[in-house]
Every structure is written in C-alpha cells, then in structure tokens.
Symmetry: C2
Subunit: 473 residues, 2 copies
Amino acid sequence: MMDEQHIDALAKLLGDKGVVTRPEDKEAYETGARYDRGRAAAVLRPTTTAEVSAAVSYCVRNGIALIPQAGNTGLVSGSTPDVSGSEAVLSLDRLTRQFELDLDNRSVRVDAGFRLSDLNRTLEEHDLFFPIDLGADPRIGGMVATNTGGSRFLKYGDVRRNTLGLKVVLADEAGTVLDLDCDLRKNNTGVDWKQIFIGTSGAFGIVTECVLNLERLPKQVATAFLVPAGGAQVLPLLNAMEERLGAYLSAFEGMSKNAIAAAFTHVPSLKNPFQGGHIPDYVILAEISRSSAPRAEEQPLDAVLETALAEIWELEEAPLADAFVGPPHETWALRHALSEGVKHLGKLIAFDVSFRRGDIMAFCDHMKAEMPEKFPGVTVCDFGHIGDGGVHFNLVVAKDSPLLTDPSFEQRLREWVFTVAVEQYRGSFSAEHAIGRRNQAYYDFYTPEKLKEMAAGLKTVTSPGKLGSVRFG
Amino acid sequence: MMDEQHIDALAKLLGDKGVVTRPEDKEAYETGARYDRGRAAAVLRPTTTAEVSAAVSYCVRNGIALIPQAGNTGLVSGSTPDVSGSEAVLSLDRLTRQFELDLDNRSVRVDAGFRLSDLNRTLEEHDLFFPIDLGADPRIGGMVATNTGGSRFLKYGDVRRNTLGLKVVLADEAGTVLDLDCDLRKNNTGVDWKQIFIGTSGAFGIVTECVLNLERLPKQVATAFLVPAGGAQVLPLLNAMEERLGAYLSAFEGMSKNAIAAAFTHVPSLKNPFQGGHIPDYVILAEISRSSAPRAEEQPLDAVLETALAEIWELEEAPLADAFVGPPHETWALRHALSEGVKHLGKLIAFDVSFRRGDIMAFCDHMKAEMPEKFPGVTVCDFGHIGDGGVHFNLVVAKDSPLLTDPSFEQRLREWVFTVAVEQYRGSFSAEHAIGRRNQAYYDFYTPEKLKEMAAGLKTVTSPGKLGSVRFG
C-alpha cells in the first residue's frame, strides 16, 4: 500500500478520480488477461500528457515504481504489477481525449488510451482503418509497447511500420515530455527516437500520444481454405500465391488439424467445409482484398482467386491438394475460434515464436516428432501467420495429466521449446508480445552482454526512474 | 597525412590493397557526388567484417577519426572527409563478398558494399528486387545510413521498412561487432537496436552486413501524366487515385512546369505529350503496377488505369484537367531527366524537404509567391514525391546573377527556406539524405536539447570513438 501522504499528493495532481486505492476498484488493473494476479500500491489514471508528466515526476522523485498499463490485454505480464504491493499502475484508460484526423495525410493523431476498436469504428465512416488485425482489443499505447503485428502483417506490416510519431513521458525527475509526434513519412534528421519506445514494454518511457498511418478499408474480400499437399508444400504454395496475387494477398494463415478440431468441438455451429468432414493435417486460410469498389469491367475478386488457384493446381510441383473458396465471414469464423477452442482442451501453455518463413513447418514437425518421447501427453495445437513467420505454438496438457503435478514440468517444457526455437532454428522467443515479466529470464539468457550494457545505458539517458515490468538495466 | 607507423600497422591488418595513400588514388574518395572536396589521411578498404573491426579498433585506440563511405553518392557531405587531412575514409567498396538469397523468406543477406544496381541485377533472375527506387546508384550500407526512400515509397516504403537485420561494427577500443543480423519479420525481444543505425549517417557504428526484405518484380506497369485542375486539386487527385487503385498505385510524382521545361531543354529527344507542346503549371506522373503476369481473364493494366481516370474525370470536384496514358519508359524518361535538366539552368541550390502530404503544394506556392521579392532572380524548379510528402525543392540562380557575388546570399536563402519549411509548415529539413556536414547546423538548431543529450549518451554507449561526419555528441 502507498503512504497516505503520497495518495493525497497524487490526488492533487490527478483529481480524486485519478487515483484508485479501493481494493475492489484496483482488482481489474491487477489481473492479467490470461496469467497472473499482482497487487498495486495504487492505480493512477491521468487524462492528459501533462497529468502523466506530473504523476511520473512525483513518483520518480519519491522512489515509487510505476507499471504503465494500456488495454491490459497482453499475455506476458507486461502491464500488471508484481505481488509486492509496492508498484503503482499508471493506466492510460482515461487518456482518450484527442482525436485529429488528417484525411489528406492518411494519418490520425490520437491519445494513447484509445481502444483499437473505437479508433477503427470512428475511421470506418471515412473508409479508413488502422490496419493491425488482432484477436484482442488493446489500447493504442499498449500496441506500441508490444509492437503487435497480427493476421494481416503480410500486407500492412506491424505497429512500427504504421507509426509516424509519438509523444512520450520519460521517467526522470522532471517527467520530461518528448515531442516525437511528427506526422511525416520521410524524415531523417537524427536518431529516430520513437523506435526505442516501440516494442520495449514501456520501460524507456510512457507513450501518451501517437500519430498513425492509416490505410483504406478493403471493399472487396475473397477467402479460401487451401490444403497443401504436405507440410513441405506450404512454402511453395505461399510463393505461388504471392507470385500470382501480389499486393492483393492480405492473409496466409496456417492452422494445424489439432487446432481446427478443437475449434469445431468448442463451437459446434462452425461450418466444416472439408470432404466428409475429415480435417486435413494442415490448412491455410488465404485472403485477398482490394480497397476499390467493384467495377463491371473488372474480374470479381472471387474469380481472381479461383483463377490463381486453377493455375497453381496445374503446377508440376503440385503444392495444392484441395481448395475451398468460401465467404470471408465463414472462413474467418474458424480462424477466430481456434484460440478459444484450444484453451478448452486442457491446460494451455502458449508460445509466441517466429522463424524465417521457410523454417516454420520444419520447427513444428521437429517438435511434434519429439514430443511423445520428451513430454508424453502434451498435444501440439499450433496455428500461425505463415506469411510473416509468426507461430502461435500452443501446447495443451489434459487437465488430469500427471505432468501437471510435476512442479518442474512447465519450466522444463518452456526451456526445451525455446532452446530448439532460438538456438536450433534461429527463431525469436517473442514474435509480437514483447517481453514482460514472463519473458525476462529469456531476455537475460539470450541477449548478448554488449546489448544488455547498451540497453542499461539507454535506460539511464531516457528513464532512470523505476518504470515498467521489464529490467533492461 | 597519416604517420608511417599507422599506415604500416593498418596495412598489416588489411593488406597492401586495403590502405590507399597515393593522392591520385585517394581523390575519388575525397570528392563528394555534387558538393565539396576534402582531404583524407588515408583510405581504408577492408573486405570483411573482421577486417572492419580490426581497422576500427586500431583507429579508435590511436585517436584516428574515421569517415565511413559506401557509394559516396550522397548530397549532404556525409561520406567525405573534411579539409583537415586528419580523417581517414573507411570505404565499403571491397566489402562485397557475401550474397545469400533466401527465396522462401523473400530476403537476402548481403555485404554492405554491394551496389543497389548489382544487387537488383542478381535478384532479377528470381523475379525479385530490393524495392528502393533511386536516381543514384548507392551501396547498401550508405542507403541504410541515410534511410533513403525514393520514388516508389508510396508502395514499398523506405530502407527502414525493408531492413530485417544488420551487422554493425562499433567505434570502441575493441571494434565490437554487433550481430543484429536476424532475418525475422516479427521479433520483439528487446530494443530493436538496428533502428539506431538507420538514417544516422554512420555516426553510431559502421554497417557491414544487411538482411533485406525483397519484393516481387512488377510484371505489368501502366503510367500516365495527370494534369490537376489546380494546385489545390493535387491532393484530391491523389486521394481519388488511392481510393480507386489501392495497392496498385506505385508512384505519384509531382513535377513543376519549370522543372519539366528544363528537362525538355536539356534532353531535346524527350517526347512532349502536352497539347500543342504547352507545359501545364504542374504535372503528376502516376504509375500502377502488379507483380503477376498478365492473364486473359483480367483487365489489362492500361485499361485499369483508364477506367479509374474516367471515373475521376466525372467527379463533381473535377480534380483532373487532363490525362495522358503513355508507355512507362517514355513517362519515366521525363521524370528522370528533371534532375539533370535543372542542374543545367544555372547554379543549383537544392533542398530535400518533406511535409504532411496536404502541405506540399501550400509550401511550394508560398515560396513561389514570396521569392520574387525576397530573392529576385531565383527560380523554383520543384519536383517531388507527393504520395509520401517529400519534395526536391530546387532553386536555380542564373550563372551571371549578381546574387552569386553576395557572400551571404546562399546562407540567407537556406535559412529562409528552412525557417518556412520547419517552423511554419512543421516539415523536415532532411527527408531522405540524413544529416552529413551540410545539415549539421540545422540539426544543432532544430533538435531539442533533451534529444541532443540523449544522442550524446547513445553515442557513448555505442561508438565513443571518432566516427562519421556528424557530431551527435
């Protein structure tokens, strides 16, 4: 708990609504979206950059540790306090005032507390959107802190690619406000400081305002389930699709049989399009889209997709075993049900890893081959973004498995997965969830000493105060 | 000149060919592409990252200042030594051994000394390219140091967007090699250190190896000259094109009447497509492209462009006054002749500025209106990348103008242009040439003290030795 004197001082800066201390009101801010429950000394809820600055300055001068929190939808314990009760949460949930749309520049300036869904609902009437497609509904500041990518990375890139500018409050005694909020696409006049705050879990500063690149909303979409002739044919199939559909290709999502089966079980209303209902070993959801309205002169997008698939069908390598063009809402319904479906199979141990595109299937096959001997009873239910190399490598343990009574099991499993992913396949232990407390040990283990030393130096010149759940110092 | 003892020691590390000391051999490395002539203590030409590291270590330990140089095609004195004769050039021109193509990952790992043209010639047989389209032919390391964008930024982005990984040698006593050469698209496991070396003119480290994202070569291209109904119609026209052509739109280049006239004068063989040969006040070169081969079922790309233009023609706002669809090689021939044409009009004073897209025409109109009174006899010959906000704001002074005998003229002109661009229009004083010695004063003037302090701190934790032409410390 926090000293009464500090609470009063912060309430003077932020108003009574700006400081939350009642246990029942703090609870939502202390609880992670999937894992963990911590204890907050208090929750601070500023409404402007100036208030963030004042609160941060006060906390730094008084040695109070701050955990920045945006939508609190992350899965790596990046935005919740630890169990000590000594850390205060600084929530962005009331930092939602500013919204300045620049239609000519195709950009928007928003406060970091905006929810992705609210932003996109407002943009929709202008036929625009912020093109990061996620299952969760985070706030923008958190998306910056984790550099999320999502399911349409292949076409639109990640948050880093779509961020033009930021305003950041540093954890120093002054609560310095860094004005990196330029709305230019080409600007090379020194260090591009905003990059330091993207994907670093809020440890170097609190993002309070963002200038974002916008894209035009797709007006035509066509999707298909593709069945590759085998695991080794997934990449040739992707290459054949990229060659034929180029900039139209907006998703190429892989789904394993186990993950699909779990989704069908959990959501029985889902349509099963496969011959006789038999789920293939691996299925691709391919999507193409364009932002122009349909024209009489143009081939409809479904037909464009079918033409490309017919060409691929005839290829000598024969990467394609089967294909089902279907309406986007049905196709995506299956994809979106995977995550919940897998969670209901048993205890979920999830990994967000990434690879060179050509290594994804090799990694998954490797693990599936060794799993029965290394960890009998653990089921692999992977799915992922083949187009950009990201894999949701989900492992499920039946709830009555004896493994769950072995206190060392989860740690041994994690270490094995990361060892193979990072050391053998040169992959990443965090594709788009950043670090957080859950990945701290892997940051410490896999980061070369020199880079850790540089990060500590960077911490000193930006935010020397106690900020964020990750130790870079 | 450099001490004999140092020359011998460096020759032991780099071989005899690795150290250039004869004045006639050094000259090309001392001379900028457009401006300046300096004097190099010596030119070092390592062939591997290990040799770069050894040379840098030696120079740091002996207090020898190094200027990294790649293709030496920049225009801001970033890669040539000053006139003191005390700085050594470290050239990447022999660092061209490694070339590893990963077709499945659509990426390539290359040594930083590769020329853009050599890289793309090699990639062409695989229907791939590194999609940064420039007039010059730089080496990759220099493109990273300046974060160039070029004419197809609208579709493909800049070097930053297309860089997956880097290997960097730091200017510290050990000549530390930073291995940031990952080939992943999604990877958020700490500070994304490679960002620090992109666009910072080589001051924080020497890039020796790059992993680059590749795109598929366009197989169909259609272009047109568009005549907007007026300066205020340029952005509505761009918006109308983006709305109708989406991801096809690969260039939207603006060209002023003065710049076009200069090109026609300099290259009389250029085709003049305009009615009666009368050049409009402003012309847009629009390009659409796709990477798939033409198909019988699909509307040809020329027809796609014509359909969109016909729709725009009917719009109530009437942004379009005239349009000429023509073969890409003819259309681009005019665009590519602008730079040389303008140079032949007189003394060229060039600015590489950028703006929010909606401010480009307002800035140019503002300057054209005030120029006759402020600087009579100076002609504005602007052209630029409207789609991404970059403008080549070229000013030409007739060779016999009395202005050129006024020693304060050029300085006064520069300050006026930058004051209006940066302070009034919130633009950038360097869109894609980075800083270099020529922009140092503007960096010093326009960068907030806190950011300068952070840059000095970053310099200390990366490359404390004397490196590069820009002072960030």
